[in-house]
Amino acid sequence: MKAELRNKVLLLAVVCALPAFALLHLLAGQVDIQPGEFYDSLVNFNPKNTNHLIAREIRIPRMTMSIIAGGALSIAGLLMQNLFNNPLAGPYVLGINSGSSLFVAFSFMTGIPLLTSDMGTITSALIGAFLFGLIIMSFSYLVKSHISLLLIGLMLGSFTSALVYILQSVSTAEELKAFTMWAMGSLQHVELSQLPLIITLFVLGSLGTLFIVKPMNILVIGEQNAKLLGINIRTVRLIIISITALLTGLITAYCGPIAFVGLAIPNLVRIIFKTQHHGTLLLASALIGGIFLLSCDIIIQVLEEYIHIPINAFTSLVGAPFVVFIVLKRLA
């Protein structure tokens, strides 16, 4: 009983920590803004007040996006690790992110009018994720073992990367720069008006996991064994893939690729909570993922006046050693 209680307390602690980190994040920018001004900027917005403008149009979206990106990628990562029974799987193993990249590359570089409209980048990324999600789901229905699916996803990713590379070599310097910048990832390119949609999609994706908590709990013993306990593998695979595609595609569309979060956080959560109860793991991953990305971005903002560190560089700096640690631990 001790362990269950411990986990409940931990979860509570994490739930309380999240808003604290969110507040810290709001206050971490270089321009001095008081907490009260954030509230004002939403309720009594004065367009002439630069602090209001920054609070509302820059800080609040950035903070919200940090939480959602951290949460969404961590959930997606957990789903992939569960499906492939492999702690080194991340949200991008199915190649869905590559689909987004490819379509964003199209939108930057071939000048197709529809795709270069104002919504171009985001729409392209979502379309790419959706399309590749469909492709993977079709394969998922056809192949027997999940290893085949993993290989297909990886190959899809490689193939698309090659295509993007070719596109880059025939584009102009400005297009190349724009795409490269997108591919660096950013939490700061979201506007306030986009938040409702983002939040809705995130909530939808997260709530969708409720349907598969039980199958996920059973999948840890392997697909064959799970089947023999009554789990409909094909259906479960489809649900896992579609939720992953939704969450990953969402984040890639608005932030570009963000490395290591989806891979590292579920592993960290398992180590902290020491359980395979996926209800707990999913919730904890979402919350701790959000806290993690908030923390990274807080540190980035604090260091901003001395050095600018892009978000991906930071998550890789922290994430890569952690992944090495996991690998070593596994081999021990």
Binding site: V213, V220, K227, L228, G230, I231, Q276
Partner: protein, 235 residues
């Protein structure tokens, strides 16, 4: 119980043909035969992991062709020879996974499920391991846990694929005895495949010996003559 009617077992070609066979509850059957004779295939066919090439297999009167793949769990439980490698999985949680076919969509364990889990753990004499992680156990202990899960599933039929293969002598005997006890006390039909003929003979269980050449099976009741077994299996 399991009834075989002219059942043809194999991948593409028949490697075993069972004209008529009835396996009853309260019994432990030991599946023996040479490598490649079809022990695993037979078990996999019963669990619907492999297709039945011809004929029929009936579980308590219900034809296997009328049972959907994910409903097999209601009729039989299967224990693999190797235990899955999982971090942070408590024994009691692992065993309670056996209740999956009985729980609701969210997998919530009711009082009944908890009791059945406890009962299974008790039957396998692993109460003292209940709160430990499976990754901390020895091979023998893990095997007990796997069997406990199958027992918690509460099926009439339990199949085990080489359950004693990686165990030491003492544990092999322990497992066989426990299975016999469970079969009679819980009224289950238990079938396990085994390479160890000497040990199996000692257990006084009924043998299902596969003859690779004849592509047929022979049912041998205890006391078993080792020479006879070898003759059938290796002729």
């Amino acid at each position: 119980m399991i009834e075989f009617n002219n059942a043809h077992i194999g991948y593409n070609e028949t490697i075993i043909s069972i004209e008529s066979l009835i396996l009853k509850k309260s019994n432990v059957y030991i599946l023996a035969g040479r490598n490649g004779a079809g022990k695993s295939t037979l078990l996999k066919t019963i669990t619907k992991q492999e297709k039945l090439l011809n004929g029929d297999i009936l579980f308590n009167g219900i034809s296997i062709s009328n049972i959907r793949e994910n409903n097999v769990a209601k009729h039989l439980a299967f224990v693999q020879s190797t235990f899955p490698k999982i971090d942070f999985m408590k024994v009691k949680d692992f065993v309670s996974l056996g209740r999956a076919p009985h729980t609701n969509a969210l997998g919530r364990l009711h009082q009944l499920d908890i009791e059945k889990t406890k009962k299974a753990i008790k039957a396998l004499e692993i109460d003292h391991l209940s709160e430990k992680f499976t990754s901390e156990l020895s091979d023998g202990e893990r095997q007990m846990v796997a069997i406990a899960k199958a027992i918690a599933q509460e099926t009439d039929i339990v199949l085990l694929d080489e359950p004693t293969a990686f165990l030491d002598y003492a544990n092999k005997i322990k497992v066989l005895n426990l299975l016999k006890k469970i079969a009679s006390e819980m009224n289950k039909c238990i079938i396990l495949s085994s390479h160890d003929i000497d040990l199996s003979i000692e257990s006084h269980c009924t043998f299902i010996v596969i003859s690779r050449n004849e592509k047929k099976i022979h049912l041998l009741k205890a006391p078993i003559n080792k020479t006879e077994v070898l003759k059938i299996a290796f002729s």
